[in-house]
Symmetry: D2
Subunit: 387 residues, 4 copies
């Protein structure tokens, strides 16, 4: 259902919804049942894909019952057992055996994260492609550089875009570097239930348990916030440069007002900036949850991750998608850039005069340094990224 509190939220689609988590947990339980059969532990008669047993209509019940044990896996397993009992008592008997709630919740979270990361990667790649084109197109478009809000020296719009691009490439690198291993440790990470059932854990799990080592979550959170950092930085420039007094950039499809008919508001930028103001604190909560681990299952820190990661992931997805649209429609007013630079004139060449005087020659023409070469290098690197 639409989230009125986060305009644009629909862009995140089904990622990290309650239904998505439910389906992912169901998939984990179904896979596990198949593993038990494959391992010869459960009988072949226990085979059941479970897929039709629960659905969105059960979310309310699961939501209510999740409080009792503090997580949704416990009522889900109960519901599955109840639902499958008649048609397949062996499935009812064997499902979830050897797992603990955290195995299912964590692994389902990882499955959602993998899907979200793949969507994010695609959108980031599209942003990178667009930015590389934009930087190349404006490799030699002069504009005034601004530092601490004031005109500084000449630069190019291409170099500005190259700076945006570098940030997005960094975020992309952070995202694709993520390892998102499944979690299978049993009640306390010893995998004792598996062994007791006669399963060799190394045949069913590639990775070691990480039930109380939450780097998987913090690295994911840090990568997600690096996405909104990179997008926020772009949005801030658009918001500044689309001010009517500057008017060097404009959004292609600005938003309107409920009462002022002539307004053309840079809404995508506003909403991207909004995200970037909120996500660092969410990533901090994930770190805090990692730091507050204790025992073999933390008394609250684990539970604090779920909604936090959900919000962080959806906001990153929305922000990157909005940035993609923002850039697709971005209007670049090179005439305004040129006019501002011309008007700034003498002042922004003061450094040049000072350098030229030191070097004992007349100022060279444009004072753009190696802006073009930097753009070329950034663009070449960006184009080397596999889409």
């Amino acid at each position: 259902m639409a989230d009125l509190f986060w305009p644009g939220d629909v862009r995140a689609g089904a990622h990290f919804t309650s239904e998505a988590w439910l389906r992912a947990m169901l998939a984990v339980e179904a896979d596990w049942l198949a593993e038990l059969i494959a391992a010869g532990v459960a009988p072949g008669t226990a085979a059941d894909d479970l897929a039709d047993l629960v659905g969105v209509e059960d979310l309310d019940r699961l939501g209510v019952e999740a409080e009792g044990g503090g997580n949704p896996v416990i009522p889900l397993v109960a519901l599955l057992r109840e639902a499958v009992a008649e048609r397949n008592p062996d499935a009812a008997r064997w499902l979830h055996r050897g797992l603990t709630s955290q195995d299912v919740a964590d692994t389902a979270m990882v499955l959602m994260a993998r899907a979200a990361v793949e969507s994010l990667r695609e959108d980031l790649a599209a942003v990178i492609t667009r930015l590389a084109d934009l930087a190349a197109d404006h490799r030699d478009t002069p504009m005034v550089a601004r530092t601490l809000t004031q005109h500084a020296v000449p630069t190019t719009f291409g170099l500005r875009v190259a700076a945006w691009l570098t940030g997005v490439v960094d975020a992309y690198d952070d995202v694709i570097r993520l390892r998102l291993p499944e979690q299978l440790g049993g009640a306390a990470g010893t995998r004792a239930a598996l062994v007791e059932l006669g399963i060799d854990p190394t045949t069913v799990a590639e990775d070691l348990p990480w039930h109380t080592t939450r780097s998987t979550m913090t690295r994911l959170g840090d990568a997600l916030v690096s996405c909104t950092d990179a997008c926020g930085r772009i949005a801030n420039d658009v918001l500044t440069l689309c001010r009517p007094e500057i008017a060097e950039l404009a959004e292609g499809s600005p938003g309107g007002s409920s009462t002022m008919p002539d307004k053309a508001n840079p809404m995508l930028s506003v909403l991207v900036r909004r995200a970037a103001l909120t996500t660092p604190q969410l990533a901090a909560t994930l770190h805090l949850a990692a730091a507050e681990q204790v025992d073999d299952r933390a008394d609250g820190a684990w539970h604090a991750e779920w909604a936090t990661l959900r919000d962080l992931a959806r906001r990153a997805l929305v922000a990157v998608s909005q940035t993609r649209d923002l850039l697709a429609g971005l209007i670049v007013r090179t005439d305004r850039m040129a006019a501002t630079l011309a008007a700034a004139g003498h002042g922004v060449l003061a450094e040049q005069r000072s350098m030229a005087s030191l070097a004992g020659h007349e100022p060279r023409s444009s004072y753009l340094g190696t802006a073009g070469a930097i753009v070329d290098e950034v663009v070449a690197r960006a184009r080397g990224i596999e889409p």
Copy 2:
């Protein structure tokens, strides 16, 4: 719909849901239309309560369309105009006139906040009543005080509860002190549209516009987080004291495990603690949004408030409600408290011996100081709060 990511979320009921915001915005528009008629600005024929025009079935459309203008008011007004046009063209013509989106969104947020604060106040009052009884009941129940995890000196369980109670009373005071004024400023806080329509703003608004002065939001956020602070502090003590090696407290209705049949987990405490780990960062985001105000409507900072406040309010409501249940069922094992204190024996009276020796007399018996008097005073103050 149930939020699987935040077990217990159903306790917050309809507070701060998308539907609640929609209904609150609808109420603001309906009240305003009535004001326009009452002021003689709109014709009597424009009268319409609007209540049946939109509902939960419109949330998806509104959610999608909210992105265009960056807030849900713009599509809501469009939808209302469209829906009312046939039956009441004058209502369609006059509704929302004189307002701006932010007036509606902010005031609707305030209406939701008032309702949430009232629920919170009731639950806090119930917690206070329960804690006052608990403190009084255990005014003279000896237990060992623990500092930095180690046994320190004797104390009473009543004094411990009095400390909990003081924190909850402080949160209660913060909550009831809140002013939650409506916001009516028009496009930029000048109320020019009102004047142009012939309305005297002082007749329709008690308070000054606060569209870019967000103390209303930060104070609300700070009060909400003070609630989870106070509840978290209680939960931490329960979590510590219900450890099987200590076993001085227990939850009345502990939670189970998906695989370990004998577990009795202190789930309410776990979930309360969870909330307390996440809300300070949300309140920080509200402050950041206040600090990042600029112009006459901020380019993202305003929009960052909505989901943040929603989450903060719902989590506070859930945490206080859970704390209420936690305390209602709390099992106090005075025998264990006595046994631990007895076993700690000599060590926890070392300070007493040192003081008595200084004062030149033999140690007095219990070394409980004025614990009882402090409990009495805290309880008396708490009982002075109007329920």
Copy 3:
């Protein structure tokens, strides 16, 4: 010593320095020794003002030794006992008796907070006075309102300043409302040591112990961040409006560049904005520390407060002081404001035309609504604050 990492830090003077904390702790110990004598518990021969016994030269030793017991009080008491032993063995014997480290550390923190709050109050009052004058002076200075970065409708600079002023007044109210009680609870809040020594705690302490109820700290933190919120909001406007393309405001004493001789950077605004970006997260840490209380002295949450509060207090002091200077020198370019509004012309009156048309009359001249009256009311309230 100057903190290169926080330009402007010197404005916070001696507030919340290591030396200030040391002196405050020394004062607490000296007062307490006098109390012990006054109560007839310690002999008159124990009288000693202690003031000359430790100083800034001992900070290194105390800093090193503070780690052992986790706080500076333990080595301070040891050092005092050692230093006073020869000249006054009774003082050595009696000092600190009845107190615990936390009593001294917390109360000394409160003493520093009171002093900081008083400085802050003075600077806030000066800011309020200046803003009230500025708002009154520009009650009728027209400028264009900007919403979501775009021109919206006409407003006045006076109304903008009134919005700034409202935020500062809110912060002032938060600051002066603070209660900063001393903390005297003994080892675990029971005041048992006092009683053992024969002291009636009600004669030496007005307030109840709050060793594990940290509302004193969170309310202080929230008030401090409300100061940087209010100042940050002003700085953001100055930063926007001093952009050369807008140029409606300018700092009176702008900063230079290490290499661009013509730069006039709005440095006070930059530094104020800097503070506002960092303080919400510090206030969040204080809330987290409050929520993470447990037992009768928390295992880390208490210790997390000190540096956090120090940084928050100093940054608030610096930001308010910088805002005071910023406003004292603020250059208001009413000609530019008028020119921008004139140039925006037709567009910013679109709402007016729409309202006038609805109301069936011609647009009235200025479309400033009740901006002037709002300014008058805000100014009158501000001037009602006792300086």
Copy 4:
């Protein structure tokens, strides 16, 4: 000078002090002057190592003057020019030419970061070595696993240590993966001053400018907080397991009390936990600063990084060093572990009975699953890290 507000701060030594930043900036300027000469731009007579020109005695002046331009480089360059003028007018004339303040401040920050990272790496490696030994030593030491504070199933202390170790290895990996490139972009990242002076930027800088792409800082911050996450998680376990009722672990050199002679407080753990409660919010500030970049030098976001990174780095250094000591002295009470497990008895084997019954056999003896094999694998990986 010792920081009383952060006991243990001295462990961070000279890292990220004002003096260290000053010296690093001086080194950057000296290196650059040598580059100018080497490039044939400045005359050989300009050669000067600058090292003796400023020192700790200038910090106060620099601290005061840093406010004017918002950073310490501007007054430093002025001071250097003034100080070197008489003995070497050419050095005075040429130093800093081609650089901008941000080049110097950022690169100096990177130099400090490299040194801090190296110290951190060493301490992390020592922690890893110790933990690997501890895990191996206790590979088969049985203890009870605790989940949600309650006894769950049997585990080994070795497996617990392996979980700690995995977190520290993850932090180590994050730290050594850091790239900390120098920053050389000139006034706006175009390197125009260099070109104007006749220098080929590719000969003096390996990396592209990153003046407004702050991934260098956010990745550093994230890695630093991953260190405190890992240490905090260890500290929490020690704090729990050293409670007198549990007493399975103890610190080797516990801290005392100012008034209770028998206390043995786990102070290193307390102080490590303290750090872990504060650093996530600091890392969030670095992300926020990255997201709030705008133009070619941000109006506050850049300035917000310095103190934040300083505090984050020093706290990480202190926490890792304290963890090293904590682990070196850690007392493991295997008898208590065994006794607790034995006492928990039947209950913690309920899952085993259920699994065995499902599998149709009698419970196997220890129910430790593959705990030993997991320990072996974690230890082997840890020992593969180059010290």
